[in-house]
């Protein structure tokens, strides 16, 4: 071999060894001491039929990071008054797009952990994605903060590094049934039968299961069980099935573009039950509500936040101001705000643990109650399995394009309009 080439090779090997020793190699840790940064990965559906929701969730995490990394004395949330955590560490986000697909989400979780070397993950909006992505995180002993996925199954796995902020569809189902009972008592509504429409996914199937359980416990008969494949070209047979069975009430777990198609198809088929209550779905998306106009009115759903909750959560306004700069003026919704809370609570835990050992931080997350002015409950407390036991939501109704608080009554700011106004009388 040429002498000069041999010497060059020796230099390359030497430099490679130096790089590895300094921590610039492929196995470099996520916590880079020299730069004092903590890499956190986000996985949301940034493309696909629920992309609007995913993009807002990502913007919410970015907003929280901006609050954590910089001094914001005007913001009344923990860590806002200081810059960074652990004496100057800044959080750096690495984003990934799940497309709303479990396999893609899982692959992205693996990439973020193995190639990007993130210290923890936040995501993934779709329960179907959160499930495999959090398995990847658990195996790698990385904390997975789940803001808005609502499938109760996620926190029934007894995982050590998984933490979920949002209420589950199990608790929401019980709340919805309580609303029906309240209407029967208060308005003599005569609601006896229930229909369930849901997308055929982890989220939808589990929501339907919990709905049927809660309905049976509450004495309601489920007369229509309508699952459908997300991204369908039409929802005619789904709506015709509901119409044929004519339930008094319908619980919906329909996301994104499918939600608008469902509403429009019901209008075409001239079908409306007395009441429709939605899980975390297209109903909570303020953009869809605006685009559907009057057709979106009188539908109901649970929500952890909407701009109409401002009087209950005064700390949100200053944070929302930053959020709006990232979303073109769109405010927080019940899902995106949970992702911001997930980031803020994780940062608080790191600060309290005074360590970047995932085991220590996970332990601290489990053992403490966290102040959370961006949560409806005001506090966050994780119980076994990682569920936030203090997660709360309010049942709202869209009236004139505004989310009005309806139930529980003590938190209401408007009277329920019941039954839903027929399509031709709007």
């Amino acid at each position: 071999m040429d002498h000069r080439l041999l010497r060059l090779n020796s230099w390359i090997v030497f430099l490679a060894v130096v790089c590895l020793l300094l921590g610039f190699g492929p196995c470099a840790g996520s916590v880079q001491a020299a730069e004092k940064i903590i890499k956190i990965g986000t996985i949301f559906p940034l493309t696909g039929p629920v992309a609007t929701a995913g993009q807002r969730c990502q913007a919410a995490v970015q907003t929280a990071v901006e609050v954590i990394n910089n001094k914001h004395p005007e913001i009344k949330v923990p860590l806002a008054k200081q810059a960074g955590i652990l004496g100057g560490y800044k959080i750096v986000l690495v984003h990934a797009d799940s497309q709303g697909k479990p396999d893609v989400g899982k692959a992205e979780a693996e990439r973020l952990i193995n190639q990007e070397g993130v210290w923890a993950l936040i995501g993934s909006y779709n329960s179907a994605v959160s499930k495999p992505a959090s398995f990847v995180a658990e195996r790698a002993k990385r904390i997975f903060m789940c803001g808005s996925s609502s499938s109760a199954a996620l926190t029934q796995r007894d995982m050590k590094y998984f933490f979920r902020l949002a209420p589950t569809d199990a608790t929401e189902s019980v709340d919805f049934v309580e609303v029906l009972k309240w209407l029967n008592k208060k308005k003599k509504a005569g609601i006896r039968t229930l229909g369930v429409i849901y997308e055929n996914s982890e989220f939808g199937k589990h929501a339907a299961l919990e709905a049927k359980k809660a309905a049976a416990a509450g004495g309601f008969k489920v007369v229509a069980d309508v699952g459908f494949n997300p991204g369908a070209t039409n929802l005619n047979s789904e709506v015709q099935t509901l119409k044929k069975n004519n339930p008094d009430a319908v619980f919906g777990a329909v996301l994104g573009a499918d939600y608008s198609l469902w509403v429009r198809t019901m209008k075409q088929a001239n079908f409306l039950p007395k009441i429709i209550i939605n899980y975390c779905s297209g109903y909570q998306d303020p953009v869809i509500a605006k685009q559907l106009g009057q057709d979106a009115d009188f539908f109901m759903g649970s929500s952890g936040y909407s701009p109409q909750f401002a009087s209950l959560m005064p700390a949100v306004a200053a944070v929302e101001k930053i959020f709006k700069t990232k979303t073109g003026g769109v405010p927080f919704d019940g899902n995106s705000i949970q992702e911001a809370v997930a980031m803020l609570v994780l940062a608080q835990a790191i600060e309290k643990a005074k360590s970047l050992d995932p085991d220590k931080v996970a332990k601290v997350l489990h053992e403490n109650t966290w102040v959370s002015p961006l949560s409806l409950g005001g506090k966050v407390k994780f119980v076994r399995g990682g569920q936030n036991a203090m997660a709360k939501s309010i049942v709202t109704q869209l009236q004139g394009g505004q989310y009005k608080r309806i139930y529980p009554e003590k938190m209401a700011d408007a009277q329920i309009i019941f039954p839903m106004k027929p399509w031709d009388k709007r």
């Binding site: 940034l46 493309t47 696909g48 039929p49 992309a51 609007t52 993009q55 055929n200 309508v226 699952g227 459908f228 494949n229 991204g231 369908a232 070209t233 039409n234 929802l235 005619n236 047979s237 789904e238 015709q240 099935t241 044929k244 994104g256 573009a257 608008s260 198609l261 429009r264 209008k267 075409q268 088929a269 001239n270 953009v287 869809i288 685009q291 559907l292 106009g293 057709d295 399509w423």
Partner: protein, 286 residues
């Protein structure tokens, strides 16, 4: 009985849309033996054209579908001139992969320009309107799309079977070299066929924003169903694609209503497999 008729009507109306989307694909496939993987993306772009004309200029989809048709005609002709032209005479896989690349390109352009957000056109002339026949409800946007489908597919059929241009197309489809020896400008035929195929799906996409949200993924399932219609109907048979489209729509609606909504696409793809096994050349193929 009323339920059955309602489901049948819904299925036929959906099927006519599938048929219109499939007709364009069938034409290109039949004449040029090119599988256009970007067909679903043509539909998506037509929907965007119609949406933006409605949103920015207040033009209703009933009018803007003409602009969508013209736009996709031009896009189709350009696709041939700039891409497919260079794959003629090469292995068939070349054209297939080229159109696959085009599909990805178009989808990502729309993702980049319009974001993945879904867009809904409000207050259209047909949006939410219905006709009632006794207890039966016929949605106006789907009815208009169905009538349009009949008209366009009928016109294309007449164009191919009853005009000098159509005979030239048939001659080109049978034997390109012989057609050229007879003085037919086959290059021009190919450009026009790609354009007309595009226009069919462009018109279908143009009217769809009356009832369907627009987003970069919207064309994917329609494109897939169009392939099934063409394969089921028989490659190159426009009446075959039309009937297969209606059959797909009706099977989808009946299976969705009488078995379970989640079963509707299983039934459609099951039917497709059955046809492929029992009659590989398709229902009307030769």
């Amino acid at each position: 009985m009323e339920n059955f008729v309602q489901v049948l009507i819904d299925g036929m109306l959906s099927g006519m849309i599938y048929a219109l989307v499939a007709a364009g694909l069938c034409l290109i496939w039949g004449v040029m033996d090119v599988i256009n993987f970007a067909h679903g993306e043509y539909l998506m772009i037509a929907m965007y054209v119609s949406y933006w004309l409605g949103f920015l200029a207040g033009v209703d989809p009933v009018i803007s579908m003409i602009a969508s048709g013209v736009f996709i005609f031009i896009l189709g002709a350009l696709t041939y001139k700039l891409i497919i032209h260079y794959t003629i005479g090469k292995p068939p896989l070349a054209a297939l992969l080229a159109t696959f690349g085009l599909a990805m390109f178009l989808k990502n352009i729309c993702l980049n320009r319009f974001s993945p957000n879904f867009l809904i056109l409000s207050d259209t002339w047909l949006g939410g309107k219905t006709f009632q026949l006794g207890g039966l409800i016929i949605p106006a946007p789907q009815l208009a799309a169905g009538i349009l489908s009949l008209l366009v597919v009928g016109l294309v059929y007449l164009l191919i079977n009853s005009t000098r241009f159509g005979w030239a197309v048939q001659a080109t489809a049978m034997d390109r070299e012989a057609a050229e020896l007879m003085g037919i400008n086959t290059e021009r035929i190919y450009i026009l066929i790609f354009g007309i195929g595009g226009a069919c799906v462009g018109i279908a996409g143009g009217i769809m924003p009356s009832y369907l949200a627009v987003h970069p993924e919207v064309g994917s399932l329609f494109g897939l169903i169009a392939f099934i219609c063409v394969a089921m109907g028989g490659f190159g048979s426009i009446p075959g694609a039309f009937i297969a489209g209606i059959l797909v729509g009706v099977v989808e609606a009946i299976a969705g209503f009488y078995i379970a909504p989640v079963f509707k696409y299983i039934a459609v793809f099951g039917l497709y497999l059955a046809v492929v096994f029992l009659r590989p050349r398709g229902l009307f193929g030769w």
